[in-house]
């Protein structure tokens, strides 16, 4: 009998083991939902799956009576646009600042401490300031994501630059590279995989900031919808939305991994740094 740590499941059983907890949770939910319905036919807390499917279908395929929008899709589009803008701008700032701080001692001395201090500001605490300064429109939501995500990216990327072997930077200089050339041809490509990794980790926080901002002041968006229907205890809307948001986040994560492996194959090769 081998030790438990040496028992490796094969492909089939691996899939089965991965699915098992999901099936278990689904089963518990279905049983619990049926139980509550049996006790109280008006129960709203655990709506049966059939009801949630019907509601989702209505939200996705029938235009809203008041606005004429397909609610699920307009919410998704609005939220994704904010998320993409927020993460995209954060990535650009993170790369630029991170590279500068990591590579240039002058920039490190000038900005390093500032970024370290700024990253300690709880983004939610400055949300009111954002609403006051940028208004209740799209800008304040995007800026909240940027404020929440960028400092972490900057710090992570500047550390990554500083952890690069000194030999590489010296070698580049002996090949005649200027500071700018070192930055764009040696450092930038080598921190891109790290950026992908950083973005993967920041998807969760980005959604957190997005949904918080939408919950407080918005008229469309996934977070707005959840907090709107909360007043009517509409678990049949909330739960599918939560599942949908989770699915979106998971797909992003997967897409980033796929993209990284495709575009930076050297970073994922065995035996590389």
């Amino acid at each position: 009998m081998p030790r438990a740590m040496n028992v490796v499941p094969n492909r089939g059983s691996r899939l089965l083991l991965a699915l098992l907890p999901f099936l278990l949770i689904a089963l518990i939910y279905v049983v619990g939902s049926a139980q509550r319905r049996a006790d109280n036919p008006d129960d709203k807390l655990l709506p049966p799956v059939s009801e949630m499917v019907a509601t989702s279908k209505r939200l996705a395929t029938e235009p809203d009576r008041r606005s004429g929008d397909y609610v699920l899709w307009s919410d998704t589009a609005a939220s994704l646009q904010r998320l993409a803008l927020g993460l995209g701008i954060s990535a650009i700032i993170g790369l630029t600042l991170g590279l500068a701080i990591g590579l240039l001692p002058i920039a490190g001395a000038g900005f390093g401490t500032l970024v370290a201090v700024l990253s300690m500001i709880p983004p939610m605490a400055v949300l009111p300031v954002l609403f006051i300064v940028f208004g209740l429109g799209e800008l304040s939501k995007v800026v909240l994501i940027i404020i929440g995500v960028t400092p972490t990216l900057v710090r992570d990327l500047s550390l990554e630059v500083q952890n690069m072997p000194r030999e590489q930077l010296i070698k580049a200089q002996t090949l005649g590279a200027s500071t700018w050339q070192v930055a764009i041809r040696v450092v930038l490509p080598q921190i891109m995989p790290r950026l992908i990794q950083g973005l993967r980790l920041m998807i969760g926080p980005a959604f957190l900031f997005l949904i918080s901002a939408e919950a407080i002041a918005s008229d469309v968006g996934l977070g707005y919808r959840i907090f709107l229907v909360r007043r009517y205890l509409s678990m049949d809307v909330i739960l599918p939305y939560v599942v949908w948001i989770t699915l979106l986040a998971y797909v992003f994560d997967y897409a980033l991994v796929w993209f990284g492996r495709r575009v930076f194959p050297w970073a994922y090769a065995q035996g590389s740094r």
């Binding site: 010296i170 580049a172 200089q173 002996t174 005649g176 200027s178 080598q190 050297w266 970073a267 590389s272």
Partner: protein
């Protein structure tokens, strides 16, 4: 092809003296080996030529001229590790030298300029025996192959001085012998001055035309860092007869006889 001169060079960090009174003329086309125990300032010596470090006193001159205190394309280097860029293929690594020189802003070449550079790069890659691996990333290469690539990459700039910092130290003996067989013809062909730091005495004698040993001749047990390392041996390896001694050491050897 260039001469290197050390004129009364001292390197000190506070109270710690690393190198003291280094006087050395390295003739153009020399293959110089530097040996010595750990902590005798071999790497410091190399960093002085590289421009990574400034002498506290004295001057290091390249062809009689002082050079800026930062690495530059006239002084190439091959380190023991991390000499090649992991994000570029073998071809990309060698090509980079040409691209950096030709295009200051994008550092990339296009069209016929790129074609020429690729051709030159391929010739160099062929010369170090990596012809069939041109499209691989360094992570797919063995340690010896990575060092071959690093040499090709450095030669692309046709440096006046090529510095080798324990270049074969991490390789197994078989691969090391292959690298020795590779470096000597390359040195003849490209006619650079080579300065190599090594721990392998056999390698130092086998490859070089001149060998210097760095050591601390004076030791104060109370303050081991009070006295720095000097050149304790300076040997001319080009003659077939018994190894003659160059420089200031000759006098003291005569006295000993």
């Amino acid at each position: 092809m260039s001469t290197l001169s050390f004129r009364n060079v001292w390197v000190e960090y506070g109270n710690q003296v690393v190198l003291e009174r280094i006087n050395l003329e390295i003739a153009s086309g020399t293959f110089l080996s530097i040996v010595g125990p750990s902590g005798a300032g071999k790497s410091t010596f190399l960093r002085l030529i590289l421009g990574q470090e400034k002498p506290s006193q004295g001057a290091v001159l390249l062809d009689g001229q002082p050079f800026p205190a930062e690495p530059g394309p006239d002084r190439g280097i091959v380190f023991q590790r991390y000499s090649v860029f992991p994000h570029l293929t073998v071809l990309g690594n060698v090509l980079l030298g040409y691209e950096l020189a030709a295009s200051p802003f994008t550092a990339r070449l296009f069209g016929s300029a790129r074609k020429d550079a690729v051709e030159k790069s391929r010739a160099l890659i062929e010369a170090v025996g990596l012809g069939s691996h041109a499209d691989k990333y360094p992570s797919a290469l063995s340690g010896g192959m990575q060092q071959r690539l690093a040499i090709a990459q450095a030669l692309a700039k046709q440096p006046r001085v090529l510095l080798l910092d324990e270049p074969f130290g991490a390789l197994d003996p078989g691969t090391r012998a292959q690298m020795h067989a590779l470096i000597k013809p390359l040195w003849h062909e490209h006619k650079t001055t080579i300065v190599m730091v090594t721990h392998d005495i056999k390698e130092a004698f086998g490859l070089a035309t001149r060998l210097i040993a760095l050591d601390r001749p004076r030791k104060d047990p109370q303050a081991p860092e009070r006295f720095g390392a000097r050149i304790t041996y300076d040997l001319d390896l080009t003659r077939d007869s018994a190894v003659p001694v160059l420089g200031f050491i000759r006098a003291s050897v005569h006295v000993a006889q």
